[in-house]
Subunit: 584 residues, 2 copies
């Protein structure tokens, strides 16, 4: 075995052990360490260097993480492999093009490998020996991407050495498989961490997301060499769930920065460029053509759909090689700041992500959120409600936005479109919370808090971390953290809000009244599992037992009234499927 | 003055003198020397090296010329300059980015300069100091091309040093200005060389054409890095007229060549590529998107028109910075071979091009050819008729295609789509003609030859250099030189052919009967000038004199019948404007 390849294998083994330690045991390490850390850094950190690596990665800012991940993705390729494979031979061959920093296999219409080389030049080296598909030489679009197909030259002779490879999962288990896992835990807190570990993005999935962006960037760079394509929203804000869409921004800001560089000499020198009556039109045209290029030149892009007349023009597409559904729009600085804010909150305390993942799952199970835009609460609004709730604890678990702004230094200052979007980027400047509440308490209190919130009078202001009088009559008013005159939940109507309140109250009631020991003996869902079963569809016996256990006519009638209100809201869901899209 | 800049100026002066000597005096040097030579080679050849340079440039093959010109274009940029300019300062500034091999100014909505650097890196160096237009920063499409705008930083302070620059003409004079010039010549032969020199592509115009291709190639290379965009047809076949369209081919052949390179290792490695049901569909999609990119990203591209359902799908567009109307299609090897064949014929003897230019002008004046496709004779068909005529002289002025094929060596062998397209590429292998006829004779004999050709029975076969029986009943049958089962003039209908014959007879009659001395005294058009005046519209006195000079009723009635047939054909012209486009 060549020395180079041996080293990769050693790193890989170290990395796996560490990943298991970090990601799959309970409770997980700080979120920042999982999301903010790079694979190779982690893998090299096996053994004695482990503690150091964690310290150094924990401190990474949002921007540092993005820059590092994008750079890794730039030197990564995707290979469709033979279904049976000699992993050693594959790596040995690939190592002949240069050192491999990281790799993994995954299933997606066959076995695929993501290979992260140490150097970009290795990609070029591999491309130099890659052929155009021969069987249909004249019928392919000869766009040379970083997607390859490897087939065995002599399939028969190597059969003995081939064995199935370890496949990294790219999707989470369905709720019905999750429930039994949750029931075997020993506390609600443990249940929440189990859910987090099953649902959160894996190191591998994050690499695939950045690669998906990097591949689209190759298209954009063809014409705009300084452009970048960055993920935003759930792929990067620490709250993304396996299987969630990849939201991408096409960013031209680097170009505009360079425009100010002017050199000596008697002339002002400018490019001759196509001028358009508005920036919006330029955005639409660029997105439109990049959409066409993906559709017509790009291997594996399908269902390309241009939505150019939306408030924020975008191109939706499905990328089969990575398996992602993607949305490409043109960079919006405030949306990036929102992702960064959530990233910071997600990194500050492990309870934050555990609570968000549990509550997002809960909201989806009960039809409070939906994958399509509508009059329901978005994941973003729900997350902001959770953040607000965490700001309101005593002592607070996360700081207010005004407090984060006070910690900002000169380089953190950002005024975007007249709005002050400054807040601290360096996580180490934020003091850890003194709050020691358990997730059991927090989950139950969340349901109680919003089950009793005076939505008619009050709005949620995360900048100040307190309720303030609603400036207008929207049923649910959550101040946009940066554009302070906007309500991020303007789309939510009264029936949807009422449904949310009703389900929250029902959930609080279930958690408070239940008898865990009895339920475990009866093999009935308990704790988090109990609130993740749709109330309408839950086991008839369970419902009967519950009602029996309470035995009060008052509660029976309350339940009936709740059921009716839930059904009413459900009908509403089907009727109105339009509205603002803000599921970021 | 820096040494580098001084050298450029010296070269330039040398180049100009040489150009004047070569291109503007009569008779011109061999066509190959003008079209086949590179500017810098010419310019460096001033003085003692001149003769050598001519010998070396005369021998260049079609492919060598194309390769050299494309490479020059790759390192060229186009600059929109201030209307008044200190040429010295401009060159001094540009030289700070690298040595300049060649440059010229031309008028096109203001003063423009084409700058040909010695090294490609100079272009990158200039781009590095170039800004995005500031006035409308958010409303431009930030595609960075090789088109720049220079403005003066301090227009006032430099005013004293600015003077108009020498502008290279990019269009020919109109026919009505040409006629008096022709009348002052001393022979028809001189007249034909005057016309050639006024109409033929200049060194500068050829550079602009290759640059126009190179700029489109930048778009194609964005996605297909191995692709090239090459001019074909009149821009390169030595018969192009100033102002003619630029026909471009997008060529992917390099890519397909590399597909066969396969390296060691246990795997076959292929790109994942978009597969399409047919090559035609791939061509259509690629042209469509490149058309959109030019239209939406490219500065100065306008009137982009996709004609994708044609037999040969193409994109038409106007490129304002170079001033060309362009047609982009996907490479057709046989069309390239046609261009090369004409290039060889055009280079063999100076009379070839002189005759073609005169006859093309004559045909256009009389409405025998037209810029739009239709039932009339195309320039390509007319040129092939002239080549056939020259093959038929005794001794022949140019060889037959079969003779050229006999001279072909191994590397000249090309079988395209089953057709043998082999012919010699090395001009020096072809023996010069022993024919010494004057152009006066050739012009007159051309009119007589085709005025009396038995088009009903015979077809023109350039491969054998003789008339053969028509294989089918098309009025005019000219064998496609390579695809021997095709008639290149299938589009021509009987009235158009009759009109051609009639005008040829009339022209022969004018040239034979005219009294040059008398006409010069009367300041009447004579020789070539006389046949370049539309017969219907010619000076009433001239017509009267001519008729009087002959004084025969027979001829009078012949004239009237001719006039009627011309008018009939003219009406036909307006009615039918569809048909095969073969003006290559």
């Amino acid at each position: 075995m060549p020395a180079r390849y041996g080293r990769v294998m050693a790193q890989r083994a170290g990395g796996r052990a560490l990943c298991a330690l970090r990601g799959r045991l309970l409770p997980p390490g700080p979120a920042a360490a999982r999301l903010g850390s790079s694979g190779p850094a982690l893998q090299r950190a096996a053994g004695a260097e482990e503690a150091d690596a964690e310290v150094s990665t924990r401190k990474k800012t949002f921007t540092e993480v993005q820059t590092e991940r994008l750079e890794q993705a730039d030197r990564s390729v995707l290979i469709r492999c033979p279904s049976k494979l000699n992993e050693k031979k594959l790596l040995q061959y690939l190592s002949s093009h240069g050192k491999i920093d990281n790799y993994f296999f995954f299933e997606n219409r066959g076995v695929n490998a993501l290979i992260e080389f140490s150097e970009k030049s290795s990609v070029t080296s591999l491309q130099a020996v890659t052929g155009i598909p021969k069987a249909a030489e004249h019928h392919v679009v000869p766009y040379k991407s970083r997607l390859f197909t490897f087939t065995l030259k002599n399939p028969g002779s190597q059969a003995a050495e081939e064995r199935p490879v370890n496949l990294s999962p790219q999707s989470h288990i369905p709720v019905n498989e999750l429930i039994p896992k949750l029931c075997s835990a020993d506390s609600i807190s443990s249940q929440m961490y189990i859910l987090l570990n099953e649902y959160q993005l894996t190191e591998e999935n994050i690499k695939l997301r950045y690669l998906a962006c990097s591949l689209v960037r190759d298209f954009a760079r063809a014409y705009f060499p300084d452009s970048t394509v960055k993920p935003f929203g759930s792929s990067v804000n620490t709250f993304g769930k396996l299987g969630c869409d990849v939201d991408m921004f096409l960013d031209f800001r680097d170009i505009q920065k360079r425009a100010t560089q002017m050199k000596k000499g008697p002339f002002e020198i400018e490019y001759q460029m196509k001028r358009l009556p508005s920036e919006r039109l330029a955005t639409q045209k660029i997105l439109s053509i990049i959409g066409d290029c993906l559709d017509n030149f790009g291997p594996g892009y399908s269902s390309v759909q241009k939505i150019l007349n939306a408030r924020c023009p975008l191109v939706k597409f499905s990328h089969q090689p990575t398996g992602f559904q993607c949305d490409l729009s043109v960079s919006n600085s405030i949306a990036i700041k929102c992702s960064e804010l959530l990233y910071i909150y997600g990194c500050l305390d492990p309870r934050v992500r555990a609570l968000v993942f549990s509550l997002r799952c809960w909201a989806r199970v009960h039809g409070l959120t939906n994958s399509v835009p509508g009059t329901w609460i978005t994941n973003f609004s729900l997350t902001m409600m959770i953040m607000f709730f965490l700001q309101k604890r005593s002592p607070p678990i996360i700081p207010t936005l005004d407090q984060l702004k006070e910690l900002a230094d000169e380089k953190d200052k950002h005024i975007i479109g007249g709005y002050d979007c400054s807040f601290v980027s360096d996580l180490s400047k934020i003091k850890p919370t003194k709050n020691t509440e358990s997730l059991d308490e927090l989950l139950c209190d969340f349901f109680q808090y919003f089950g009793n919130f005076d939505f008619r009078k009050n709005s949620l202001n995360l900048r100040k971390g307190k309720e303030v009088n609603k400036p207008e009559s929207s049923p649910l008013y959550i101040w946009n953290p940066f554009e302070q005159d906007l309500n991020i939940s303007k789309n939510v109507n009264q029936p949807q809000l009422e449904k949310f309140v009703a389900v929250a109250r029902e959930s609080a009631w279930i958690l408070q009244k239940e008898d865990k020991t009895q339920q475990m003996v009866n093999k009935e869902p308990w704790g988090l599992a109990a609130v993740l079963i749709p109330f309408g569809k839950s086991n008839r016996n369970t419902m009967k037992n519950r009602t029996k256990g309470i035995g009060s006519e008052t509660i029976k009638s309350l339940l009936d009234s709740l059921k009716r209100s839930i059904e009413r809201a459900g009908r509403n869901e089907d009727e109105k499927r339009s509205g603002k899209r803000a599921d970021k």
